[in-house]
Amino acid sequence: MPFMPVKFNLQKRVKLAQGLWMLYWFSVIAGILIFSLGIFFKIELRKRSEMMDNNESHLVPNLLILAGLLACGLNAFGGKVCHDSLDPIKFSNWKPMLKTYLLLCCGFNVLLVLVSLLCFLMQFSVYLTLAEGLSYAIRFYKDTDTPGRCFMKRTLDLTQIEFHCCGNNNFRDWFEVQWISNRYLDMSNDVVKDRVLSNVEGKYLMDSVPFSCCNPGSPRPCIQHHLTNNSAHYDYDHRTEELNIWTRGCLGALFSYYSSLMSSIGGFVLFAIILESVDMAGLKYLSTALETMADPENPECESEGWLLEKGVKETFSDLLTKLKTLGRTNQVEGGDAPEANT
């Protein structure tokens, strides 16, 4: 009892072949899209790798690039098979490869499922990497003369300007680090000396933020220094002032950007999985319809196509017995060998 059989006449076969050919070419385009999404994601991670302390995992974009290339190759081959399927001579060349091809497609679908799962699960890893990386970035902001960190200031400034954020969780993170290098502090100045001495670790801390935290939408010129001191500025209350500097933390801003990117990529991969499954089903129907033609010489004859030759349960039990015998052939020879020795 074949699983989900469908009767085909010549017209239906031709229509199936043509429709499937178009669907395979759509799948090639989907494969190209997955490849470009992988490259785009890789570039985005590279651009801000300094914010993640160069520790970010490139597993997801690499898998996406691989999956995209595989999709292009497999689907182009499938399209060629469909194109040749109505010519019996050409199709007979492809017939022996079809079983392996369908198995490969199955395996590729499993890979796509894995990639889609990773797209959603790796967001946690990105969050943790960002949290750690940003705290280092703020700490090394002032080290513009240390090799390997000279561009940290510029990168963090550009990130804060671009993502409209300030600090790790909020702007107060800047109060806890010394973000002005000692090179640019006038150590002969009493005020500076007092402040450095009053700190346990000898750091020059102040309640100020860098200029990149400033919000251009604020109606008044940006107040960067003495943020918590209301009397230092005219008509200023730091508790109610919302527009002066960005209130969002860069961790939240960067994470929401990356998580939306990864979620959309994951969604698109799910769509690609559905497309691939439809392709596989169509090809199975087409190949079985062409094989079961009662009279191969007469193209007009009717035939039947199916998804599985026997029912689902029977196919599974067949598969299991096959696997078991595969294992048993190895054991049988092992049993013979000791007998031969004695």
Binding site: D145, I180, S212, P216, R220, P221
Partner: protein
């Protein structure tokens, strides 16, 4: 003496019609490209419209948009005509429309050329407009509570951040205007009052710049205030601390670059349209000559102009003159209206009169 005379056989005529059909469809695509370029330029100008003093620059993208739409329509129509022109019977349908269509296409092609040349010629107008617009924008930077100008501060800040520029021609432009609103100045402080009194117009001027002038390349935290007296102001530090370029130059370079690329593309599209126009003219004259000869299978000549350029110009001029003259004939007394000649009148003796008795 025809201009550009080429002889076409029947097969060649049919091939020409097919090629022209394809070229017309490609022209529809280039027409959409033209439309898209006009739209892109419009959006780009709209983004920074607040810092431009006059809106006259908008005629360039509007011209491109209209010519793009016209290109699509004219070439779509032309493709249909060319497809029919392969067959003499179908050509009869379009015979009367062909000449007006070619004249329309000629005018439209000149509009495309005009659009391309405008793209190159607009630089000086833009320079003036940007200078005045930026000067006003900086003057109204502090007026964040005046309706109609509340967003100017944000626009100027974003402009300086994005284009990495400061002020109109340099950062010192900010020293000459009051960019901090009086709302945020403590009038009770003697320092503030002194500074305002020492200025002729009562403005609070200072040697400081807004935060958006700060350069992200600077290795040290930005020095925005007391720029003339800052202790770390040596040659090198002046280079890196703030953006060096003026925003007028930055915006001018940005728009000139865009306009030059658009102008080049439009010129290429114009050349292509000219090619299509020439082909259609050849096809029209060849088909008309075939009809004149009467034999659809025979060879015929195609040309651009039937007579030489001078003769065509003269005949067209005469047509226009006569157009005017047909209204003047009745009124002008100086024109000699010829009467019948006396010899034609028959003498009465020669008239045979039948006399009945």
């Amino acid at each position: 003496m025809a201009v550009g005379k080429v002889t076409f056989s029947k097969v060649e005529r049919e091939k020409l019609a097919e090629i022209l059909w394809l070229l017309n469809w490609i022209s529809v695509v280039t027409g959409t490209i033209l439309f898209g370029l006009g739209l892109f330029l419009r959006v780009e100008i709209h983004k920074w419209q607040e810092v431009m003093s006059e809106q006259g620059i908008l005629y360039v993208p509007h011209m491109l948009i209209t010519t793009g739409l016209a290109a699509c329509c004219i070439n779509f129509f032309g493709g249909k005509i060319c497809l029919d022109c392969a067959d003499t019977n179908k050509f009869l349908r379009w015979k009367l429309v062909m000449m007006p269509y070619i004249i329309c296409t000629f005018f439209f092609t000149s509009c495309v050329l005009a659009g391309a040349l405008m793209c190159y010629g607009i630089r000086s107008q833009m320079e003036e407009s940007l200078f005045m617009g930026l000067r006003n924008a900086m003057r109204y930077y502090k007026d964040t509570d005046t309706p109609g100008r509340c967003n100017l501060k944000r626009t100027v800040d974003l402009l300086q951040i994005q284009f990495q520029c400061c002020g109109n021609t340099g950062y010192r432009d900010w020293f000459q205007i009051q960019w901090i609103s009086s709302r945020y100045l403590d009038m009770g402080s003697s320092a503030v009052v002194d500074r305002m009194r020492s200025n002729v117009e009562g403005k609070y001027l200072m040697d400081g710049v807004p935060f958006s002038c700060c350069s992200t390349f600077s290795p040290w935290p930005c020095i925005q205030h007391h720029l003339s007296t800052s202790s770390t102001q040596d040659e090198k530090s002046q280079q890196l601390n703030l953006w060096r370029r003026g925003c007028q130059q930055a915006l001018l370079d940005h728009y000139t670059g865009i306009m030059q690329s658009i102008g080049l593309t439009v010129l290429l599209i114009w050349l292509f349209e000219l090619l299509v126009l020439t082909g259609v003219r050849y096809l029209q004259t060849a088909m008309e000559n075939v009809l004149r000869l009467g034999d659809p299978e025979s060879e015929s000549d195609g040309w651009i102009l039937e007579n030489s350029l001078a003769e065509t110009a003269r005949s067209n001029f005469n047509i226009i003159k006569n157009l005017g003259k047909c209204y003047q004939v009745d009124d002008d007394p100086n024109i000699n209206v010829p009467t019948a000649a006396p010899e034609e009148e028959l003498p009465s003796q020669q008239v045979q009169v039948l006399v009945t008795s």
